[in-house]
């Protein structure tokens, strides 16, 4: 697919969260057996619990880090808390899933209150098993800086979905 038609580019994930990269590992995220495609919409009620994340690769000795952020916190028109870190798992062996890794920051159910938020999963390859120190707080996380800090290099896979308030947009502003 030509670069400019890539949903990650059109949806501004590449730009706001990460830079251009080449996908090299398969990444599949499933909430209640519903697979997440780029740009699909999920309700907060559907994403309350941990998704099942399966990654590809081939060598069990290669470890990966998974980051889940919300670049549109608290609202897409004013993302002052960009990015809000929802989940951070490290040391995931290739071909396995997130449940096999180390949950550095536990999963926090997204509860978008204003606007339609994007929620992004980014997968990085680690150089080896490494200790990752959790950031002090979830907001204003920077995925690029995080990757640089731990020498993770460019992402190897990413996927995102949209979510908004349970009752949808429109209606009286609370």
């Amino acid at each position: 697919m030509p670069r400019d038609r890539d949903p990650l580019v059109v949806g501004r994930i590449i730009g706001d969260v990460v830079d251009h990269f080449t996908k090299s590992i398969s990444l599949s995220v499933n909430y209640n057996n519903r697979e997440v495609n780029n740009g699909c919409e999920l309700k907060p009620s559907q994403i309350v619990n941990l998704p099942r994340v399966d990654i590809g690769g081939d060598d069990l000795r290669t470890f990966y880090t998974l980051v889940m952020v919300d670049p549109d916190a608290p609202s897409p028109s004013d993302p002052s808390l960009r990015e809000y870190l929802h989940w951070l798992v490290t040391d995931i062996p290739a071909t396995t899933g997130a449940s096999f890794g180390q949950e550095v920051i536990c999963y926090e159910s997204p509860r978008p209150s204003a606007g339609i938020h994007r929620f992004v999963f980014v997968l990085f390859r680690q150089l080896g098993r490494q200790t990752v120190y959790p950031p002090g707080w979830r907001q204003n996380f920077n995925t690029r800086d995080f990757a640089e800090l731990y020498n993770l290099g460019p992402p190897v896979a990413a996927v995102y979905f949209n979510s908004q308030r349970e009752s949808g947009s429109g209606g009286r502003r609370r």
Partner: protein, 279 residues
């Protein structure tokens, strides 16, 4: 007509303007007699002429009672003659301007104001903002410059003695500049136009700004929506083509495998002779 005269209680009226030079003892406007010049006696004096009467009437209008001195620009409640929010400042001898002093004083000289006169002509300074600037004489000078645009500021103001503690000096300075009977009015009028227009424009600007920013936000939101929709469409299309390809591939494989299986099955059904002799 020297409006400045009348707005400051103790400045002499037009008839006297060439004579006085010090604090006048008789003030034409003293019906408004809130006497703010301790140095000069303010006795009630009847208006000298028609113009004075008009000024008196104006001054009699109760100016912002209870309006706090430091009005913020957008919150303009009461406008005085000049369109400035009133603090009704009466020139006073001491530096500490009594900020609650509201009545009777002329609309013009707001001695507590920041040097709005010059500033807002130069850049967008808001004359309606009153700051607690006690630099009275400086303000006054600037005001003078503002209201007498025709005069070379330096020449007209130059003679105002620097830091007077007494307003009398200021009055003197003001007095000296009135060469022409009609010019103060003209100056006043133009100053009025400047301030009211400016005040109104401020409001309009703010409203326009708000409208503009709301429009921009809406535009961004619309762009995000379009991007969202397009991204999803692209994803679905790519998924579709991918799945179609996979499907085709799988079908082909299936067919081939089917052929192989059939062949094997067929082979199995071929009758062969087996040796089944009982013995």
């Amino acid at each position: 007509m020297d409006y400045i005269n009348n707005s400051n209680n103790n400045i002499n009226g037009p008839d006297h303007r060439h004579h006085h030079l010090s604090s006048s003892s008789s003030s034409p406007n003293s019906s408004i007699s809130n006497n703010n010049y301790p140095s000069s006696s303010s006795s009630s004096v009847t208006p000298n002429n028609m113009e004075d009467q008009v000024w008196n009437d104006l001054n009699l209008v109760p100016l912002n009672e209870g309006l706090p001195l430091n009005n913020n620009n957008n919150d303009i409640g009461v406008y005085d003659f000049l369109g400035r929010s009133i603090n009704g400042n009466v020139p006073r001898e001491c530096n500490q301007m009594q900020q609650q002093q509201q009545r009777h004083v002329g609309p013009v000289l707001n001695l507590n104001s920041s040097p709005a006169g010059v500033d807002f002509l130069a850049d967008n300074f808001d004359p309606l903002v009153v700051s607690r600037n006690n630099n009275t004489d400086h303000n006054l000078q600037n005001l003078m410059m503002m209201i007498q645009p025709n005069h070379n500021p330096m020449s007209s103001v130059g003679r105002v003695p620097p830091p007077p503690t007494s307003l009398d000096h200021l009055q003197d300075g003001l007095m000296m500049n009135n060469d022409d009977e009609s010019s103060p009015f003209q100056a006043l009028a133009s100053a009025t136009r400047l301030t009211t227009t400016f005040g109104r424009r401020r409001l309009q600007e703010n409203a326009a700004e708000r409208c503009h920013s709301r429009r921009m936000k809406n535009r961004e939101s619309a762009a995000r929506s379009r991007a969202r929709r397009e991204a999803y469409t692209n994803e679905l299309e790519s998924e579709l083509s991918h799945l179609l390809a996979e499907n085709a591939e799988l079908k082909k494989q299936h067919e081939q495998l089917g052929l192989v299986v059939n062949a094997q099955v067929a082979r199995r059904h071929v009758r062969k002779r087996a040796s089944t002799a009982p013995f």
